[in-house]
Symmetry: C2
Subunit: 432 residues, 2 copies
């Protein structure tokens, strides 16, 4: 019997988060966290779910970009797709006409992310495995086959990638069992949104420590005095042993970043995240040289593996923050994990948003089991918003992500949530 | 009386160029040259016309992105917009929700390009001046006000930009008159499309020289033996004194580019264009070090001024190929011309496509009059396709662009052409 992809649906789902300034930062003062939600339907029982995260306006453009991929995927044989997800990614990102709109960046690349992730979700559901375990059971050769090396070979060869994966192979089972027992370290951004009052910042910072987190993050970059005061307050609230990362969300030029961080340095910030334009590789390198030992972190807007390659080649970052749906999904993130391992840079994924925690935990756990083999200085961002809308919400306890057990990638919305938040005609928006 | 922007229209216009393999290259084997065509309507008599160029599929996504800008521009006061086009660009590229889809790259940035260029076109029409002359009459201070320096200051300060413009100010009138007399140098890509036979390549190369061109360009990158043979044929056809540039359209990795160019080197290629990923700044620098004295050129996919800044900082390019609608239009291209002047790198714009020649000639002519003050090693790409569809088509004679005299930026399609090629319901596509 035919086993085909029968449909690719794209839905415009938006949550009115701007009402409470959740998610507010220097460049995103009033986000409405949104998802261009992709559903792959097949002639079999299972479906696959993926999404591209956006912050409101323009989500309809993201939906249009997913729809543009429909002719490429409908009618494909499911077994062939799942048996060669590297080729499937290249199909979506390499279409000779669509690639002009990127290439490999922005709306079209995030559309590929949504569909690639939906395919991985489908794969996990078919195999009855969460994607982190599915990946962790693939051979080094199968994993290397996922990678598009065209623009990577000057930094990472297939042979080097294979060596990294083979080195980590012996301990896979032990680390998988350990993750099932103890989970993976998390840090929390919940206390530090820019729109929160000092009182709320203080209260939430103390709660974070009480909840077992050993790292929190504050948004900075709008006002120098405010940032110094908030940083001092947070440091006082959590004590000297808790890491406080700060995040300017691209607010600064290079020199401005260096000057601003000198003001915050007395309060011992752990990393500065997105100090400047996400495209400015050389700028990040200059900031890193100037602000050490404060670490430099970036990645949520790093649009593809070629950019990550250069951030690593230029010694521009101490912390690599991959995102589940900015680059072309699980497949490209496997390449990025291998690059990070080659350069010895820890990966601390970006999360929050809509479904990003649910998806990205699979990548960090796979990294621990089968790539880097380490959780040292590695931690997954955690934000406690919107998880209630997912079929398999993340579980974070004592500052750690519990290893997910349900099959798939975790991005399936509850049908009622998807219906309620459909833009512009779902009840939440009709009544707004 | 109110003087307002009353509408922003976006139209999906496509030309079936894939039927003849015009425009075929290593990564674009079958393009249907297309435009997401933007029309700014006002309460006055004039309108403004701009476009984002694409190569077919996905043009509807580009159109959706232009539509997403409509709420930002409709209702604005025309005088205020035209009086501060720097602020207008930042409005379009800085929207806190839309910028997530970039930032400053891909579909949303090209949408800004279409609208910014439409505003410049409107400005020119109101002033009765072609945009190159309009720009050339702005004061150094007004020009510097156009630039968004947020992420540029480590390479170019406002003071440095002002000094560059003041240095060129004395000769402006003389150079403007000279352009009106003799035009601006062009080179032609017409002979070298990858899909053309050897005979057609030979014939068109000889015709190009007979037509007065001193530089031609060949597409390469699909097959090594074919490229060596075609390069040898073209060299034989044009002789030793004509520059032959080659363009791989991103086909190679870094090492592959270096090896491939060693094979072509005996035939003295003038530049290698887009040797690898357009995002790979460090890769371009490595190729440049290895293939000198062959020059390295890139830019048609360089998505914003931060990327151009780094290409210059990293000594990665000999030739900067700005594009009229990849970055955010005339406004961002003024910043890029200033960066190029600061680093002493000549600008040879990308053109061809749909309306790119018509628009980009204004930038090179403004550069000559008011920025670099030189045409040395500078030349505008010319491709002789699709000009017949424009109200003010470029005029290229004896290998030079004649200075355009009509008011505006040149991107207005003939109404009949726009109607005929509307996708998918115009007669050209209904009958395809």
């Amino acid at each position: 019997m035919a086993d085909l992809i029968t449909a690719l649906e794209a839905h415009d789902i938006r949550f009115p988060t701007s009402q409470h300034l959740d998610g507010s930062d220097a460049l995103n003062p009033e986000p409405d966290y949104s998802a261009a939600y992709a559903v792959l339907r097949t002639s079999g029982d299972e479906e696959g779910y993926g999404l591209a995260f956006t912050v409101g306006r323009g989500n309809e453009v993201q939906v249009a970009a997913i729809r543009a991929l429909e002719p490429l995927v409908v009618g494909l044989d499911v077994q062939e797709v799942l048996g060669n997800l590297g080729a499937f990614s290249r199909l979506l990102t390499g279409d000779s006409q669509l690639r002009w709109l990127g290439p490999h960046k922005g709306v079209v690349h995030m559309a590929a992310a949504a569909v690639v992730n939906a395919a991985w979700d489908l794969f996990g559901r078919r195999e009855g495995l969460p994607v982190w375990r599915l990946l962790s059971r693939m051979s080094p050769e199968q994993l290397v086959d996922l990678v598009d090396f065209r623009y990577l070979r000057d930094a990472l060869t297939p042979e080097e990638a294979l060596a990294i994966l083979r080195r980590a192979a012996p301990g896979r089972q032990e680390r998988e069992e350990q993750l099932l027992r103890t989970g993976y370290p998390a840090y929390t951004t919940t206390p530090g949104w820019l729109g929160y009052s000092d009182d709320k910042l203080l209260r939430l910072s103390k709660e974070a420590v009480a909840d077992g987190f050993t790292q929190i993050k504050l948004k900075v970059g709008a006002n120098r005095e405010d940032d110094v005061r908030r940083m001092a307050l947070a440091r006082e609230a959590v004590g000297a042993d808790i890491r406080i990362a700060v995040d300017s969300n691209q607010a600064w030029g290079v020199q401005e970043a260096i000057e601003w961080m000198r003001l915050l340095a007395p309060h011992n910030p752990y990393w500065i995240e997105e100090p400047t334009s996400p495209d400015d590789i050389l700028g990040h390198a200059a900031v890193r040289r100037a602000v050490a030992p404060i670490k430099v972190a970036t990645g949520e807007h790093c649009h593809n593996q070629v950019m990550f390659k250069q951030l690593l080649q230029a010694d521009a970052i101490d912390v690599l923050q991959m995102d589940a749906s900015r680059v072309a999904g699980v497949t490209e993130n496997v390449a990025i994990l291998l690059l990070a391992a080659k350069f010895g840079v820890p990966v601390c994924p970006h999360a929050g948003g809509v479904g990003l925690c649910e998806m990205v935990q699979h990548l960090s756990m796979f990294d621990y089991v089968a790539v880097s083999g380490s959780t040292e200085d590695r931690t997954i961002e955690y934000v406690d918003h919107l998880h209630e809308h997912f079929e398999d919400p993340v579980v974070v306890r004592n500052g750690r992500y519990a290893a997910p057990l349900s099959p798939g990638l975790g991005a399936r919305l509850l049908p009622q949530s998807a219906a309620d938040h459909r833009f512009p005609d779902g009840p939440v928006w009709r009544n707004a």
